[in-house]
């Protein structure tokens, strides 16, 4: 007898919400990236839970893809940050202000 799925799903949703709110309140681009990783993890947890509930490997394969995708996305994102902020003092999103209108 294991824990009921709804507990895992609720935990996943809570992590997702924390990540989303983190994007709302934080201005440090790196921390914003970390919040995106949190949300990805929440989705992963949900996928694994469904895989167990449905007795289907598909959910676990999805997590496998999300992990690869997250790695690729983060590399490009950090590349963008390095390109912008290497010449500057801070890495807050407030420094991104040249394009307006």
């Amino acid at each position: 007898m294991t824990i009921h799925a709804s507990w895992y799903l609720t935990l996943g949703a809570v992590l997702f919400t924390i990540g989303a709110v983190g994007l709302l309140v934080r201005r440090n681009v790196l921390v914003m990236f970390m919040c995106i990783e949190l949300m990805l993890n929440a989705a992963n947890l949900t996928f694994v839970t469904f895989a167990r509930e449905l007795n289907d490997t598909g959910g676990q394969v999805a997590v496998f893809f999300v992990l690869v995708v997250a790695a690729a996305e983060v590399v490009v994102g950090l590349g963008v940050i390095v390109a912008i902020f290497r010449r500057r003092v801070g890495a807050t999103a407030d420094d991104v202000h040249m394009l307006k209108g």
Binding site: A42, E53, V80, I84
Partner: protein, 472 residues
């Protein structure tokens, strides 16, 4: 015949050329990177030939049903590959001997493959993978020139893209949990008896991700900044190719994955379309920089395109209208960007003063493309608008068609703000702003403007290519 790589020949041509180009870029001297440009153009032409062959064969589903090769996928292949060719043409001069010229073409090829895969994907997981294949290279393309504005545009594009990617993934999670499968036919069957609220939540989240690709409200924030901050070739790319993939994917998702009548997604898309076209057109009024004006104009155009998605599945007209309009919009929009690439020093509308005096042919191309975007006969978008409005009225959304017509009339104003100085005003005292970018971009502008008219005159021959049933 489950795993038949030959069925994916056009996509494979792009990916293989991209990998070869990436390897070659490490060895080629900076001034010989035109070899990669040639390779990329060759891959696009090869892909077009393979698509023509595929069109003769029967539609099929490959890779265990996760990828559909049907009229929509083939139409997407033609439009995307054609658009990639035009982008390669207009980027010859702006990128010549740039340190990252070959990487630009490599990323362009991979993003094009992603856009095609978005349309063909018949499975939520494949759609998500294709979404990223189309998105991640775009961030690189926008930030490629690596001056301040390019990097900033890239960061904004990236943050919004990552955000909407997660939202889309969350929606896919819920739908997979409800349907116990990720393939569209299976979902359509299983979701019919699933809780309505949960289906709606999942569908809205997946749509949000696709709206980011399309650049529709409420995910349109990145468009003006990315277009303004990026180089002209990258701007021409992000305003056309990802939108083709996103719209094709949305059309397939709504008609094949969601059970009819379970959730009223048509109304949701119709409202989104109305907001998108109105916001795009009204924000364009105040713009003085040409790239920003084109950016808002593309948001307006996307609104018209979403109308076809709103009536997807209601009648056979919607699909052929969508693909014809996409082809017409792509070539017309790229013609306008080719003119911008040809005049690299002209940034604002007033810089175009007296263009007709200096370069009558180029001014003619600009007039054809801008009036084409309004939908003046005999250009292609005139036929496209007629098709879409007919489909929407037949689909029961007369109010949407009326709003679209009002928007079309209003859009004439800001396109004329660009054309009037170019034709009627005296030449500027500084002729240097109208100095030429090079022969390739000029030739691309003339060719694309001509294609706009040819596509409009020959509409009767081209229209049926986008029709035909999607695979169930």
């Amino acid at each position: 015949m489950k795993e038949n790589p030959a069925a994916l020949a056009p996509e494979l041509a792009l990916v293989v050329a991209a990998v070869v180009g990436a390897v070659a870029s490490g060895w080629l001297p900076r001034r010989r990177q035109w070899a990669v440009r040639l390779l990329a153009a060759g891959a696009c032409v090869g892909g077009l030939v393979a698509t023509a062959l595929a069109m003769l064969g029967p539609p099929e589903r490959v890779f265990d049903g996760s990828y559909a090769i049907d009229p929509a996928t083939n139409a997407a292949r033609v439009v995307v590959l054609g658009a990639a060719l035009v982008v390669i043409g207009l980027s010859a001069e702006p990128l010549r001997a740039h340190p990252h010229e070959s990487e630009f073409y490599v990323l362009l090829l991979l993003a094009s493959a992603g856009a095609i895969a978005l349309v063909g994907a018949d499975d939520l997981l494949t759609v998500f993978a294709a979404y990223l294949l189309a998105s991640v290279p775009s961030y690189g393309l926008v930030g490629l020139l690596r001056d301040r504005t390019g990097s900033e545009a890239s960061l904004k594009y990236y943050l919004l893209g990552a955000l909407f990617g997660i939202v889309m993934l969350a929606g896919a999670t819920v739908l997979v949990g409800l349907g116990a499968t990720s393939s569209y036919p299976g979902l359509r069957e299983a979701l019919d008896s699933a809780p309505r609220a949960a289906v709606a939540f999942g569908a809205v989240c997946v749509t949000a991700g696709l709206l980011f690709k399309i650049g529709g409200v409420p995910a349109q924030f990145w468009v003006p900044d990315a277009v303004d901050g990026a180089s002209v070739p990258a701007a021409a790319f992000v305003t056309t190719i990802p939108k083709i993939g996103g719209l094709g994917a949305a059309f397939r998702f709504f008609t094949e994955a969601l059970p009819a009548g379970r959730v009223d997604w048509a109304l949701l898309v119709a409202v989104t379309a109305a907001c998108t076209m109105t916001l795009g057109n009204f924000a364009a009024f105040a713009q003085t920089r040409v790239k920003r004006l084109l950016a808002y104009s593309t948001i307006g155009q996307v609104g018209y395109l979403l109308m076809a998605v709103a009536v997807a599945g209601r009648n056979g007209l919607a699909q052929q209208a969508l693909w014809y309009y996409l082809a017409a919009y792509t070539v017309t929009n790229l013609a306008a960007f080719a003119v911008v690439a040809e005049l690299p020093a002209a940034r604002t509308l007033s810089d175009y003063r007296g263009l007709a005096h200096h370069r009558p042919l180029l001014a003619g191309s600009l007039a054809v493309s801008l009036l084409g975007l309004v939908g003046t006969p005999p250009t292609a978008l005139f036929v496209g608008k007629l098709e879409i409005f007919t489909a929407v009225i037949h689909g029961g959304y007369t109010w949407l068609a009326v709003l679209a017509i009002l928007n079309t009339v209003a859009s004439l104003y800001y396109y004329l703000r660009w054309l009037v100085p170019a034709f009627l005003h005296a030449p500027s005292p500084h002729p240097a702003v109208l100095s030429s970018g090079g022969t390739w971009s000029a030739a691309t502008a003339y060719a694309a403007a001509t294609a706009t008219v040819i596509l409009g005159v020959g509409a009767a021959a081209v229209l049926p290519l986008g029709a035909g049933h999607l695979l169930p």
